[in-house]
């Protein structure tokens, strides 16, 4: 039973949707327009349409191939590490053990902490002179010279990826754990009676039950990681020499540091097209219609 009323639900939803339309939908649509304008805060009198100049400038930028390559590495390694470690954690948490609630409260900590504090912490962990990571690696004899984690162009991106992967494991673990806990116990018992070993049980029961959750979570996480610029901004500001810039952080830097909103909007539009393309291909490949519970 639900109420059937003409106006009431609309009145109740109006404030939320009014704000969403004015301050979310409108800006998004207007950014399409800005992408075709010269819009620099440094030249406020020269604002006007300039065709595809912004796109030309962005796509022919010498750094652009590097930034696209970084974006790919960033997304694949981060999401991959988060998924594998999150799955292992969820599997380990799926059976009760003493103090499990306390344990969960601790391991889900990174999730509650701001990107800023995480970035700060990892900057300090990776500090070349006084940071413990170099110190421990040296003492264990794994390396013989200090690593310049954040200032070596070959290392910077991977150092931020480590921090980003670390941050996102709890999210994967929570989603997968929740899905695992909804698997009926009888199925495991039946599988065991049928003589299924641990690997076969994981593959045929656990995995096939949580497959949809895995797909949804992978999709969401990929979009999230792809668009995430905060840690990069805090840890390296995309440097040295763009070696750790991704499309998202590059866009933010264009707007924030060069104040070139036109070019930033052009990157944004390119960004949106990539996202839509990714979501479309992903949904096609995974036959998402059957994914149920949304």
């Amino acid at each position: 039973m639900k109420y059937v009323r003409k106006n009431e639900p609309y009145i109740l939803l109006f404030p939320s949707f009014f704000l969403l339309f004015i301050f979310l939908a409108y800006p998004l649509l207007s950014s399409i327009m800005y992408a075709f304008q010269s819009f620099k805060l440094t030249a406020p009198n020269a604002i006007g349409f300039n065709g595809i100049e912004n796109f030309k400038a962005v796509l022919t930028d010498n750094n652009f191939p590097l930034i696209m390559k970084n974006t790919l590495i960033w997304v694949v390694l981060t999401v991959g590490a988060q998924f594998i470690l999150g799955l292992i954690l969820a599997l380990s948490l799926s059976r009760p053990f003493p103090l499990r609630n306390v344990y969960q409260a601790f391991v889900f900590l990174p999730w509650a902490v701001s990107s800023f504090v995480i970035g700060l912490t990892f900057r300090w962990l990776f500090n070349t002179e006084y940071g413990p990571v170099n110190d421990i690696l040296l003492k264990l004899g794994i390396i013989h010279e200090k690593i310049y984690f954040l200032s070596d162009p070959k290392m910077a991106l991977y150092s931020v990826i480590i921090a980003m992967a670390w941050t996102g494991i709890p999210f994967f673990a929570i989603m997968l754990l929740a899905a695992m806990q909804s698997i009926p116990h009888e199925i495991y018992e039946a599988a065991e009676i049928d003589g299924a070993g641990i690997i076969s049980r994981f593959w045929h029961v656990t995995f096939s039950y949580i497959k949809q959750t895995i797909l949804i979570t992978l999709l969401l996480r990929t979009i999230w990681v792809f668009s995430s610029a905060e840690l990069i901004y805090i840890m390296t500001t995309g440097g040295p020499a763009n070696s750790s810039n991704t499309l998202a952080s590059y866009m933010f830097m264009k707007a924030f540091a060069s104040l070139d909103y036109g070019q930033a909007a052009a990157i944004g539009l390119f960004f949106m097209v990539l996202l839509l393309l990714f979501a479309f291909i992903f949904l096609r490949l995974t036959k998402f219609e059957k994914a149920g519970n949304l």
């Binding site: 998004l28 900590l109 701001s114 116990h185």
Partner: protein, 278 residues
Amino acid sequence: MNKKQRAPIVIVRFVVLLGYLLMVLAPFYWLFITSLKPKLDILTTNIQYWPKHITFDNYIYLFETSNFHIFFKNSIILSLATGLFGTCLAVLGGYAMARFKFRGHKLVIYGLLLTQLIPGVLVLVPTIIMYSKLGLTNTMGGLILFYTVGTIPFSLILMRSFFDRIPMDLEEAALIDGCNKMQSLFKIILPLMLPGVIATFIFAFVGAWNDLLGAVMIISSDSLKTIPVGLNMFIHNYDIDWGVMTAGGIAATVPSLIMFAFMQRFVVNGLTDGAVKG
């Protein structure tokens, strides 16, 4: 499931759980002990994994000498306001979505889910342009508005799922007893779903508390800066005062940790009900 597991599996699980716990806690431990060290013990290659001289000087400097108390106050005002507005809007809208049949019901839900896929960085640039036209840049109100709008879709989805768990019979009983609909909402239903209301508030609060990029773009004067923006000014300096910075990091984390500890048990439920953003 209650059967005993074989010994090797138990050991592997124990090692995994212990290893992960260490991996999570080690960075926080390092942050925390640094904030308790005097400067000389921080800037030394003879790294102390257990602080030899514990001092609260970093915290004293942070709260008494720096502008941190201003940032802290701004963050509190901003996050409380965002939590309050976000929750109010979500209570009204969530109630409408859970309790009414209306045209466009599906559209509303799919629309909200879709907004969860829109990256914040993408909205930021056109929002700034719009804000500068409306005179909202560098104002606390503008920042509160930005975060409130950002929290609406998630809060609505969350709130609706909490309403869905309260049986309709309760309301019908209240209506028969002579309550009107708003009375039954505020006197019967909301008290019952107080945990849901609190969870929604905390999500909005922590979202605003933890964000950096929005505030970096919108706020420019020192007197309006939030904790992440205020501290961020110092992190790009060549000679970072790590003692004070780590103390600031701890001080910035404590409030959101308390909030999350408070709502731990709602997190898993809330998330699995169709919420999506991490």
